[in-house]
């Protein structure tokens, strides 16, 4: 038995790796640049043309903290034309523009030169401190506005890749440069940008795009860092339960999860226990009196419950029992009074205060697994009751109760145990819907919020944890299976 468990755990490892890989692929393909969002949300004000020095330093810090300054994976399948070091380009849009230029022309050397001269041009703009006497001849505000416009155009140029757009930007920069005589020092860096850009299509080596190449990056990559951490500097890694930093609150995701997992687990466990408690007697009774009125009505009701979408039932319940116009019996959202518990409330008092909040969600959590379990129980019980040894037991003259509970029941438990593994993750996965309808502060609601605000570390954490719990559910159901059926021996 122990050997079997160890073997199963070893089989889980590839599955877990695939789950983390999938989560990772989703998170790196997420739209938008998280650093851009985190920095701009903290320092509003200041338009795009004037990135302050502190803002840039902030960005570098967050890039390092989130590990975005590393290559994505251990290996990557790239082309001969692409350099290994493209990931070092600071800005996501700029990086994509460079990559698309390579895709168009296939000569990294010229593109790199163009990019360098563009950067030099931009730096010369940043260092611009003209003779104050010169400026005084003009309207100061106007000069500043034109300067900002110039910086904005150069920044936009950095993240453009289409020839038409680049040419248009060149023209625009040219017109701005010709406004004031003291802009003349920018002429020479700007001209070198144009010269370098024109070199790119001239020396195009597009064929290099079609020759594949494997690039190896070693363990210094984002995936490895996400899994194993970077030695405790910024991240401890997934294996030490560090799920990264939330994009919205900048808190560690694991803190958020541990504060939220309680309610989710509570409802998941409650629903599993309630479902088993109710469904087993119903299934047994329906199968024992097969064809009776109880069997027929319960079958129809269970079938309808089984097909009922949980979000519809939840909305119907809220509409009826949490509606001040119909039956204002239950509160519509949350798990405790809006003012919180009183300070001197004991555990019993807290339960009493929370109880009305919990009833409607508990119904929604429970009914679908309950319907499913009852139906499974009924079918497997019917199958068992048709066996020969049941007929023998009846022939011996045993009372019907004893036949059902002692002889048939235990043997028809097996399918119920098998579905245990399916119910556990379903309770957590399905909770996204129910928790967001009832605004229960659990993991499902947090996932929903994460999806709405593109908070990918949160989503991926929930995805990985749920995947892990599913595997644990399978293991537990296998062990229970072996306990319930002595014929099964795992060797």
């Amino acid at each position: 038995m122990l050997g079997y468990i160890v073997k199963r755990i070893f089989i889980f490892i590839p599955t877990l790796i695939v789950i983390t890989l999938l989560g990772f692929i989703i998170s790196i393909n997420a739209p938008g640049d998280p650093v851009e969002r985190m920095v701009s949300s903290s320092q509003s004000g200041g338009d795009i043309g004037t990135q302050s020095l502190s803002q840039i330093q902030d960005k570098i810090f967050w890039r390092k903290k989130l590990g975005l300054d590393l290559p994505v994976f251990y290996v990557s399948l790239t082309s001969l034309s692409r350099p290994d070091t493209l990931y070092r380009i600071f800005d996501k849009n700029e990086r994509e523009a460079m990559d698309r230029l390579i895709d168009r022309h296939g000569n990294w050397q010229e593109i790199q030169q163009y990019s360098n001269s563009l950067n030099q041009f931009y730096n010369s703009l940043m260092l611009f401190s003209p003779d104050s006497n010169e400026i005084k001849k003009h309207n100061t505000n106007e000069v500043l506005e034109n300067m900002n416009q110039l910086k904005y155009e150069v920044l936009a140029l950095k993240s453009s890749h289409e020839p038409v757009i680049i040419d248009a930007k060149f023209k625009k920069i040219n017109t701005i440069l010709s406004i004031y005589p003291f802009f003349d020092p920018f002429r020479s860096p700007f001209n070198s940008v144009i010269v370098d850009y024109n070199k790119i299509p001239a020396a195009s080596t597009k064929w290099k795009n079609y020759i594949p190449r494997l690039a190896f990056y070693g363990t210094q990559n984002q995936y490895h860092r996400w899994l194993f951490g970077d030695g405790g500097q910024f991240s401890k890694g997934l294996i030490r339960l560090d799920f990264g930093t939330s994009y919205t609150t900048k808190q560690p995701v694991s803190d958020v999860i541990f504060s939220k997992i309680g309610w989710s687990m509570f409802f998941a466990l409650l629903s599993v226990i309630l479902a088993y408690l109710v469904s087993i007697p119903i299934g047994v009774k329906a199968s024992a009196k097969r064809g009776s009125r109880f069997d027929r009505t319960s079958s129809v009701i269970l079938f309808m419950l089984y097909s009922m979408p949980s979000f519809w039932l939840a909305t119907l319940l809220l509409m009826t029992f949490a509606n001040t116009d119909v039956f204002p019996w239950f509160p519509a959202s949350g798990v405790k009074p809006a003012t919180g518990y009183p300070d001197d409330a004991g555990l019993f008092e807290k339960i009493k205060l929370s109880l009305p909040y919990l009833i409607l969600p508990a119904i929604c959590y429970t009914y679908s697994s309950f319907a499913f379990l009852s139906r499974t129980m009924r079918v497997s019980m019917i199958e068992t009751l048709g066996q020969d040894y049941i007929r023998t037991a009846r022939a011996k003259g045993l009372p019907e109760n004893k036949v059902i509970w002692k002889h048939a029941f235990r043997n028809s438990l097996l399918p119920i145990i098998t579905v245990f593994a399916n119910i556990f993750p379903a309770a957590i996965g399905g909770s996204v819907i129910i928790e967001s309808i009832f605004t229960i502060p659990g993991m499902g609601f947090e996932t929903f919020l994460g999806i709405q605000s593109n908070n990918y570390p949160m989503i991926i954490a929930v995805f990985t944890i749920t995947g892990f719990l599913t595997l644990v559910g399978y293991l537990i159901s296998d062990i229970l299976y072996a306990i319930a059926d002595p014929r099964i021996s795992y060797k």
Binding site: P14, T15, V18, I19, L22, I26, N29, A30, P31, L77, T78, S79, R100, D103, N209, Y210, P212, F303, M304, Y306, S307, M308, P309, F311, W312, T315, L316, L318, M319, A322, N323, D325, I382, P425, I428, G429, G430, V432, I433, S436, I437, T447, F448, I451, N454, Y456, I459, I460, V462, F463, T466, G467, T470, L471, Y474
Partner: protein, 451 residues
């Protein structure tokens, strides 16, 4: 020659037991399943002609002597020339207020409202039975004529609920059928391969095996890596362009793989490379299924739907299809394990038929029954997932009216019970129909389960 023919007709006569006929008869006996089947055909019919039963453009209109069929026409406008004055009037079909038009004859669709169009007179949740307003030709607000009543009420924007429901039928049924189409294609093929070949029946030369593995990398490179920006641009143009680009990539992928397959055949003739190796098809596919089963699918689908740059129903269909094939593959695999040991397969093999012919022509028709049941249940769950996603507002374009999005609108105002009850009922009914159908199929196709 004639004796052979006679023999064939004779054997047909004595072999009168036709499984398909038997299964159909069994299915017909199951009343709930049979009625669900008929309701489903009705729903499919509604979905097919939805743009003609629920639209604000009339089916037929005669205006100033000109006959038009706005709902059926592809063009969006009609020019009407007045013979006396020589003036032309341009009717643009999608913005004309047909109900106020002074037409000679006009025949409206059964539900004379489009799902996305605002009726300003009846905005802010008008109940089905409540008094409804109508602005007539003279601009006076009067009681709504019974022909134009919103039979199932309106939502906050004054959009007709019944029209939304009818057009939502289309979305739901398409999602169910297309996503399960993808899933059954994957599930049937992979399950058949796993069950038929097992771990020890597919062997090839060492050279061919390694060349093929290398070919996968190259095929991926030329199909998808090189074209990544073309695909991304396709995504941002339209869902049709996206599908086209993806199909082109897939074509290149298969083509490159085919080239490597033939190279492998040649390489596999050389010494050392011509040793035979077994390809563990069954283990590979079973492991894939196991991994996919332990994945939290709803969260996976939600997060993948959320990262798509362009929100589109097609994305959701593809995701559900790519993740929903496991149960079909498992059942097909089990059935193939049983079928491939039967005598007629041995006979087909001894006659020298190709493997693909045996798998798809001889074995698959006899192994498809359990998969059909799984497909019926799969359609139900695909519809559920789609409506849950549009209920949460994840991954579905905001201007698409679906049952889930209608239901979601009802959450803002619980007194508007018609927004909750009718769309929910539609989802519930469709899911129930598919579940009943699945149960009926199971009972009809599997004689062992007959009770």
């Amino acid at each position: 020659m004639s004796s052979v023919k006679e023999h064939i007709t004779f054997s047909k006569n004595i072999n009168q037991f036709d499984f398909k006929k038997y299964a159909w008869a069994q299915f017909k006996k199951n009343k709930p399943a049979y009625y669900s089947y008929r309701i489903l055909i009705f729903l499919a019919f509604i979905a097919l002609i939805a743009p003609f039963i629920a639209t604000d453009q009339p089916l037929y209109c005669k205006y100033k002597g000109v006959s038009m069929f706005p709902a059926f026409s592809f063009s969006n406008n009609c020019e009407i020339r007045n013979e006396q004055t020589g003036e032309t009037e341009n009717l643009q079909f999608d913005i004309t207020e047909w109900k106020k038009l002074d037409a000679e004859t006009i025949i409206f669709a059964p539900v004379p409202y489009a799902p996305n169009k605002t009726d300003y007179d009846n905005a802010e949740y008008v109940a089905p039975g409540a008094p409804q307003l109508f602005t007539n030709k003279d601009g006076e607000q009067v009681e709504m004529p019974s022909r134009f009543r919103h039979l199932l009420g309106t939502n906050k924007g004054g959009e007709d609920v019944l029209s939304g429901l009818i057009n939502g039928t289309r979305v739901s049924l398409t999602i169910g059928i297309l996503s399960m189409g993808i899933a059954s294609l994957l599930g049937l093929v992979l399950g058949a391969l796993a069950g038929y070949f097992g771990d020890t029946k597919l062997q090839t030369s060492r050279g061919a095996f390694w060349t093929f593995l290398l070919g996968i990398i190259f095929a991926w490179y030329y199909g998808f890596s090189v074209r990544s920006y073309s695909i991304a641009d396709g995504f941002s143009i339209s869902s049709l362009a996206m599908v086209g680009q993806l199909l082109l990539s897939l074509l290149i992928f298969c083509f490159v793989l085919l080239i490597f397959y033939f190279i492998g055949k040649i390489i596999g003739r050389f010494p050392f490379l011509n040793r035979s190796v077994f390809i563990p098809v069954d283990s590979i596919i079973s492991r894939c299924i196991e991994i996919l089963i332990s994945m939290p699918l709803l969260i996976l689908i939600i997060s993948v739907a959320a990262i798509a740059k362009e929100k589109s129903i097609i994305n959701i269909m593809v995701i559900i299809g790519l993740t929903g094939w496991t149960s079909i593959a498992r059942l097909t695999r089990a059935e193939f394990l049983r079928v491939s040991t039967l005598e007629y397969i041995q006979a087909a093999k001894s006659m020298g038929f190709s493997e693909s012919r045996i798998i798809f022509k001889h074995a698959l028709p006899n192994a498809i029954a359990p998969a059909l049941v799984a497909i019926a249940f799969g359609v139900a769950s695909a519809i559920l997932i789609e409506s849950a996603l549009s209920f949460l507002g994840v991954g579905v374009p905001p201007n698409t009216v679906t049952w889930g999005s209608l239901l979601n609108a009802g959450r803002e105002q619980y007194s508007a019970w018609w927004l909750v009850v009718f769309p929910g009922l539609a989802i519930f009914l469709t899911v129930t129909i598919y579940n009943l159908l699945g149960e009926g199929l199971r009972d009809a196709l599997d004689p062992r389960l007959k009770r």
